[in-house]
């Protein structure tokens, strides 16, 4: 038991430090954005509506995940809520791709003639966020399956705990990016 507690603590720390790394990665990208923007020649454009849908999807998914974790802690099943989280995560990914389509329709390109760094940054940064999110989707899928086959109990729900930390982090990261793109 004592050993287990130690291991749980270590796994959580691993995850947190990993998150710090990811923060540095996006910190690097967004500060590059700021520096580049300050140099001028910056194309301004509207954020696609689909990105707002993404924002709603990921916020709601985080809420569902919160309830899922509470259910499990209370000894109930969290499977359907986990499934809901997963589906909303997929909706998020879908809306991101739709959002890119909107951008292209507005004439904002990643590359080539007529492209501008402001557009390239949006594509590059959202793509990187999406890649991290796909990792989260995989983890959520595994957690959902494990929950379905009854692997989690009210004393043993480390997997859900870890996935929650990561998923909420991805949500916050998206919120930050969304606000950053909209207002900076």
């Amino acid at each position: 038991m004592q050993l287990n507690l130690k291991k749980n603590k270590a796994s959580k720390q691993l995850l947190w430090i990993g998150i710090v790394s990811i923060v540095m990665f996006f910190g690097g990208l967004t500060s590059a954005y700021i520096v580049r923007k300050a140099e001028g020649g910056w194309l301004e454009f509207e954020m696609p509506v689909w990105f707002t849908i993404s924002t709603v999807a990921i916020v709601v998914s985080s809420a569902l995940l919160l309830f899922a974790a509470q259910n499990v802690k209370a000894g109930k099943s969290g499977t359907s809520l986990l499934l809901g989280t997963l589906l909303l995560g997929i909706l998020f990914s879908f809306s991101q791709i739709q959002g890119w389509g909107d951008l292209v329709a507005q004439g904002v390109y990643l590359t080539g003639e007529g492209s501008n760094a402001s557009g390239s940054f949006i594509y590059a940064i959202t793509l990187m966020h999406l890649l991290h999110l796909i990792g989260g989707l995989i983890a959520l899928t595994i957690t959902t399956i494990k929950s379905k086959i009854g692997k989690y109990t009210k004393d043993n729900y480390l997997g859900i705990h870890l996935v929650s930390i990561y998923w909420h982090f991805l949500g916050l990261l998206w919120l930050y990016l969304f606000l950053f793109f909209t207002y900076s």
Partner: protein
């Protein structure tokens, strides 16, 4: 707990989860890469001292295509310089040094059976291995390896059509470095969590050996700075492969105007050096840790100012994030901003001086045992001083603009980083070899290795300062087109001469290393009379480190020559005597 269990050849030597074996894998890969990197430097040194002359060795190693008629091809010169820097900085002095000693020492010195996650640790090595394969493979592609320098500044690195090395070679370089960063992050996460969670009973943070403190801080630096390198490389990859304009603007190449507008190579420099400067400390800090340990053991004295040593490490690490601009004084930076970076840069001299002072104070009036490890540790103190002094010159923007991108800089960083870290690494290998392989390395060869290395290394890098002051630019294939540099050719010959001697004597070290693995005299459990926990493990390697219970820790690691003790050392697991106070 998993103690000793059955192992097959594959799980013991290849896909090992045992931190001690993983350490050896890092060490031997690092040594292998070290030999290649060193050989490259000798090849391009031949061109620098004897421009345009024919050498059979060049043709032997590089072939008819890269050294036609035994004369080094200019593009391959650039490629060799690039690969030399990349290999030495990342492969040898980052992965080779930290990978070896973090893996080996962390569990042993904190009293743990293994790392927090043996699996992640294994992955860390295999990512490194994959990175190594990709990097080595790039030596064999048609257009040659990357050639834009270890700092891969765009536009040279961003335009595949720029020079041969900007093509496939640069792609492979970027893939290799990405794998490398993944490896470092996996390793670093594991080191931090292990140190924070797995210390044995009694091993409080204030009793940690300085090696572990240094490795902890290095891991934190890595976790914070390597991701920024990735973001920097990511945008470069987009520019190269997808045609974005993050770093590119208004370029005409081969008469063709590119569409890119608005990008800025200065942006790249900011991102790169935000990693790049912490990276040089990632290289240095493990050496600082090792040297603290080796000096204390062989002086038979407690390390002077333990707390100040830890504080200095933390301060150096912190400051290393706010000085990156000193690599960019001539990029048109606002002079006020330049003076801010000058200020922060010169601040680093303070904790650095604290370190040096404490080393010297530890050595002062000590009963020194001059083992080969100790000689290299003292050699470290020497190069850290000489190289640090030129750092103060470079850190001053008004002075730096005169010598930026000359051999003065090459001299500076090879002495303060290259030599110091290599000496730290060699000190570590000589010191912990008995624990790694259960045998002793040959001492006489060790002395010979040290003195020849020490003299020839200064012979190589000291004169470079004069070249730099005379204005000789770095990274030029030849300077024979500039009459003003004709008078410097003698110095260049001297440098190449010492480079060859210094290179050859490393082969002797490698011989000593491998010979001693099999034929060295058998080691005892604690040959140096050392206090740290690794010396309480049996000579025979076991998975799990201690056959019985893990020892508990009763005191700090530096009770050497303690008044009232029976011996001149008291290991950390020995309880305090009646009435004995902790240091």
């Amino acid at each position: 707990m998993s103690e000793h269990h059955k192992e097959t050849f594959l799980t013991k030597y290849v896909f090992s989860l045992d931190h001690k074996m993983i350490a050896k894998q890092f060490l031997i890969t690092g040594m292998f890469m070290g030999v290649i990197g060193m050989l490259m430097s000798i090849l391009f040194r031949l061109q620098l001292s004897n421009p345009g002359e024919s050498f059979a060795v060049l043709e032997f190693f590089l072939g008819e295509k890269w050294a036609p008629g035994g004369v080094l091809d200019p593009n391959i010169y650039l490629a060799l310089v690039t690969m030399h820097g990349t290999i030495l900085i990342f492969w040898v002095l980052t992965a080779g040094l930290t990978g070896t000693f973090a893996n080996f020492l962390i569990p042993l010195q904190i009293g743990a059976r293994d790392m927090a996650s043996g699996f992640m640790n294994m992955l860390s090595y295999w990512f490194f291995f994959a990175a190594t394969i990709v990097l080595l493979y790039s030596l064999f592609v048609e257009s040659g390896p990357a050639a834009a320098g270890w700092t891969i500044y765009p536009p040279l690195s961003a335009l595949p059509q720029a020079i041969p090395g900007s093509g496939l070679g640069q792609d492979l370089w970027l893939i290799a470095i990405t794998l490398f960063v993944v490896s470092s992050l996996l390793g670093g996460l594991n080191y931090i969590v292990t140190i924070l969670n797995m210390r044995t009973k009694g091993m409080t943070m204030s009793r940690l050996p300085l090696t572990i403190w240094a490795l902890l801080i290095v891991a934190i630096l890595g976790v914070l700075s390597f991701p920024v390198l990735l973001s920097c490389a990511l945008l470069l990859i987009f520019d190269r492969s997808f045609g974005t304009s993050f770093y590119l603007s208004d370029i005409i190449i081969n008469g063709e105007a590119l569409h890119n507008t608005g990008g800025s190579p200065i942006l790249f420099e900011h991102l790169f050096w935000f990693l790049g400067h912490p990276e040089v400390y990632i290289i240095l800090l493990p050496a600082l840790g090792i040297v603290s340990e080796v000096i204390s053991v062989n002086s038979r004295k407690p390390i002077f100012g333990y707390k100040a040593m830890v504080g200095a490490l933390i301060l150096i690490a912190f400051l290393s994030f706010v000085v990156w601009g000193h690599h960019m004084f001539i990029t048109g930076m606002d002079p006020f901003l330049g003076s801010v970076f000058t200020f922060t840069t010169l601040l680093i001299a303070i904790p650095s001086a604290v370190k040096v002072f404490n080393y010297l104070a530890t050595l002062w009036r000590a009963n020194i045992r001059f083992t080969p490890a100790m000689l290299f540790a003292i050699g470290f103190v020497s190069t850290f001083i000489t190289g640090g002094l030129t750092g103060i010159i470079l850190g001053d923007s008004a002075l730096d603009i005169n010598v930026h991108d000359t051999y003065f800089v090459v001299g500076h960083f090879h002495i303060v980083m290259g030599l110091s870290a290599i000496y730290g690494m060699l000190a570590g290998v000589y010191h912990w070899f008995p624990k790694m392989y259960g045998r002793m390395m040959n001492k006489k060869l060790g002395y010979f290795h040290f003195w020849v290395t020490f003299i020839s290394a200064y012979g190589v890098f000291f004169p470079m300062h004069f070249l730099g002051l005379a204005g000789l630019p770095r990274r030029y294939y030849t300077n024979s087109a500039f009459p003003m540099f004709d008078g410097l050719s003698d110095i260049n010959e001297v440098i190449t001469f010492f480079a060859i001697i210094g290179g050859l004597v490393q082969l002797l070290f490698i011989f000593n290393f491998f010979y001693s693995i099999f034929k060295g005299t058998k080691a005892t459990e604690n040959p140096w009379g050392s206090n740290t926990l690794e010396w309480t493990t049996p000579v025979e390697r076991i998975h799990g480190n201690w056959p019985g219970e893990i020892p508990t820790v009763e005191r700090w690691a530096y009770d050497y020559s303690k008044p009232g003790a029976d011996q001149d050392f008291v290991p950390q697991n020995v309880p305090l005597k009646e009435g004995e106070t902790e240091h």
